[in-house]
């Protein structure tokens, strides 16, 4: 569906220019469609005998995110935003409710099926970057492609690195890069699979203000290029960059600036 960009042609292009339209055009369904999602953590691992110590992390979440949206999920710690992010990213499954990700019902899928869904639909950007320390920037970016066995991984990884302006740093290891550069490598890794959804968890949490602004600028441009971005943060200045704000409190959506749409 999406042709792999040729490595030479993209080095000087802006973020996201390579694939502006297809993601919006290919799928009329919402990227995220959650209905009545609940998540309960029980200390004994789900046996359910001790209701008193069970933590009701999410108490009925209804959330629709359309293609091309830039959504910030905010809330105090303990509000359930990390749990919600894990569920949106298919890192965890809900106890009740239904969730369709890019048109695919993911409730009741097993570990390996969820791994495939994550690989196909979700690009993760973590607060701690989570790059493999002994692997080059290029190798890190190519990693998600390795798990789907695609051909032309090197070219696509180079193109993704070029799209965040790090083509010349492809051979560097993470410890040879600055914090901002490492986060850009992580963004390239999230983009390389052309995911339906870019999911970022406190992406500027470990960066200074200037570098953080630079990273947020990249997300802004990706959104402008048509990508669907969901950003989880407790920082109001970060959340302000998004076009829609979802505020969580005590496991419920307290406020949703885009719910009317």
């Amino acid at each position: 569906m999406i042709p792999a960009p040729s490595p030479g042609a993209v080095t000087d292009r802006g973020v996201g220019e390579t694939n502006a339209e297809p993601i919006v055009a290919m799928n009329a369904e919402p990227i995220v469609a959650m209905r009545g999602i609940e998540k309960i953590y029980r200390p004994d691992g789900g046996g359910g005998a001790d209701e008193a110590t069970a933590v009701h992390a999410l108490r009925g979440i209804d959330l629709r995110i359309e293609p091309g949206e830039f959504v910030a999920i905010v809330g105090a710690s303990g509000s359930g935003k990390s749990t919600l992010m894990n569920l949106i990213g298919c890192l965890d499954i809900a106890d009740s409710g239904t969730y369709r990700l890019a048109g695919t019902d993911v409730s009741g899928l097993d570990d390996d099926a969820l791994a495939r869904i994550r690989n196909r639909f979700v690009g993760f950007v973590f607060q701690q970057w989570n790059l493999l320390p002994r692997t080059s920037a290029l190798g890190n970016v190519a990693l998600p492609l390795a798990y789907r066995g695609d051909r032309g991984r090197r070219e696509r990884a180079l193109a993704a690195l070029a799209s965040v302006g790090l083509a010349e740093r492809a051979g560097h290891r993470p410890n040879q890069l600055s914090g901002g550069e490492q986060q850009r490598v992580a963004i390239a890794r999230a983009l390389v699979t052309e995911p339906a959804l870019l999911l970022a968890d406190e992406p500027t949490g470990n960066l200074d203000t200037a570098t953080g602004a630079e990273i947020l600028g990249i997300f802004g441009r990706l959104h402008a290029a048509g990508r669907t971005v969901v950003l989880v943060s407790h920082d109001p200045t970060v959340a302000a960059r998004a076009s829609r704000l979802v505020q969580l409190r005590d496991g419920r959506i307290e406020e949703d600036s885009g719910a009317a749409r």
Partner: protein, 416 residues
């Protein structure tokens, strides 16, 4: 994930912890080296015994003093003294053993031989002219022991080729010379002077160590009366006319000796009648047991190496929990993670196996160089050791790899 990429990932992880990987490899290496060296030496020892027995001659029946022990044919006569020259005479009587073509008694001991300034320790065998026929071994120079020599207990000797050269420079020079034998120990040491009447054809050594040409032959009567001072013989060898004649000849020998020794039916005999095949079978069995025991010792050290692998892989899984979480978040399935850690364990044990094979061969060669055992490194043993070392990686890597594969991505990502 393609295997080549998994292999690359495993190598990267191992190189990142060089010392740890090296120590783990060392554990497997020692195990494999132990298996290779032990089996090679066991095989070498068994080959020596086998070659010795095969060198005894064909269609030969051996009678040794002492009974059979617990179903095992006795390989050496030991200290029993039940066989005498009278037994030999009885077997030699016309028609006693129709299938026999030659019979010879042997009375053997190690003695010191002195000639001029040369002084050697060699095997002395007191025998009869039958020795030449049974062993198919003639004098190349001079003459063999004659019946007359036996009757007269003549002070004569026939030398093995090597002994002749060692004492006199060459075989021809030995004829007619005098040697002194010294037998016994302490106060009972006694010196006997013998004239050399012949030198045997060279037969060479067995398996590179047992030199059959280091030998002094004397008439059995001479050794009985003048040298060793005892009547009993160490063994009687009977050469049958053909392989087909062997069973009957064996039976005849047993019957005659049982009658002479007054051993009734069902009683335990004080002698053992064996063919070369019996001795070979017994020696092979002993050798096999030896090899299995040595292999088992090596196997145990390999097991210890395997436990080391499991230990280090568990540590590695714990340390890399975050990495596993990340890989799963990016789309790694259970079998990708399982494969990654299994390949890592197998790489460790395979490298250990290769290094261990090299070390094992080195040990076997070194031991061969300083001992009489010529170690036999069989490609089969090497192949098996390598396969087993890879299997050790699979078996001991499986549990840690399964633990890694079962990690939940959110739990693993949160780990510090």
């Amino acid at each position: 994930m393609p295997l080549a990429e998994t292999l690359g990932t495993a190598l990267t992880a191992l190189v990142a912890n060089k010392l740890r990987a090296a120590l783990t490899i060392l554990g497997v290496m020692i195990g494999v080296a132990a298996v290779i060296a032990m089996v090679a030496l066991g095989q070498g020892a068994a080959d020596v015994v086998q070659a010795t027995l095969q060198g005894l001659g064909t269609n030969v029946i051996f009678v040794t003093p002492g009974g059979r022990v617990a179903g095992f044919a006795q390989a050496a006569g030991g200290a029993a003294t039940s066989l005498t020259l009278g037994d030999v005479r009885a077997l030699e009587a016309p028609g006693a053993v129709p299938g026999a073509v030659a019979i010879e008694p042997e009375q053997s001991a190690f003695v010191a031989v002195v000639a001029g300034s040369e002084n050697l320790s060699v095997r002395l065998v007191g025998t009869t002219p039958g020795y030449s026929a049974v062993r198919d071994w003639r004098a190349s120079v001079g003459s063999f022991i004659s019946d007359g020599d036996v009757t007269a207990a003549a002070p004569v000797a026939v030398l093995g080729a090597t002994t002749a050269v060692d004492l006199f420079g060459d075989a021809d020079a030995a004829i007619g010379r005098t040697i002194s034998l010294r037998a016994g120990a302490g106060a009972s040491v006694l010196t006997v002077r013998l004239r050399v009447i012949g030198v045997l054809e060279p037969k060479g050594s067995i398996a590179g160590f047992f030199n059959r040409d280091e030998l002094v032959l004397v008439p059995v009567t001479t050794s009985q009366k003048r040298i060793l001072g005892r009547d009993s013989v160490s063994a009687i060898a009977i050469s049958a006319e053909s392989a087909e004649a062997m069973p009957q000849a064996q039976l005849d020998v047993s019957t005659i000796l049982a009658a002479r020794h007054r051993i009734g039916p069902g009683e335990k005999a004080d002698f053992t009648v064996q063919t070369q095949q019996d001795l070979l079978a017994a020696a092979t069995l002993t050798g096999d047991i030896f090899t299995i025991l040595l292999g088992a010792i090596g196997g145990i050290s390999l097991l210890v190496g395997g436990i080391g692998i499991m230990n280090i892989m568990l540590v590695s899984v714990t340390e890399r929990t975050r990495e596993i979480g990340l890989r799963k978040a990016l789309g790694a399935r259970r079998r990708d993670i399982l494969g990654q850690f299994l390949v890592e364990a197998v790489v460790l044990t395979t490298v250990g196996g290769l290094a261990g094979t090299a070390l094992g061969v080195l040990i076997a060669v070194a031991v061969s160089a300083v001992s009489p055992i010529a170690a036999v490194v069989s490609p089969f043993a090497v192949g098996v050791a390598l396969l087993i070392s890879m299997a050790v990686g699979l078996i001991f890597g499986l549990y840690p790899a399964r633990r890694a594969a079962a990690l939940q991505p959110i739990v693993a990502l949160r780990a510090e």
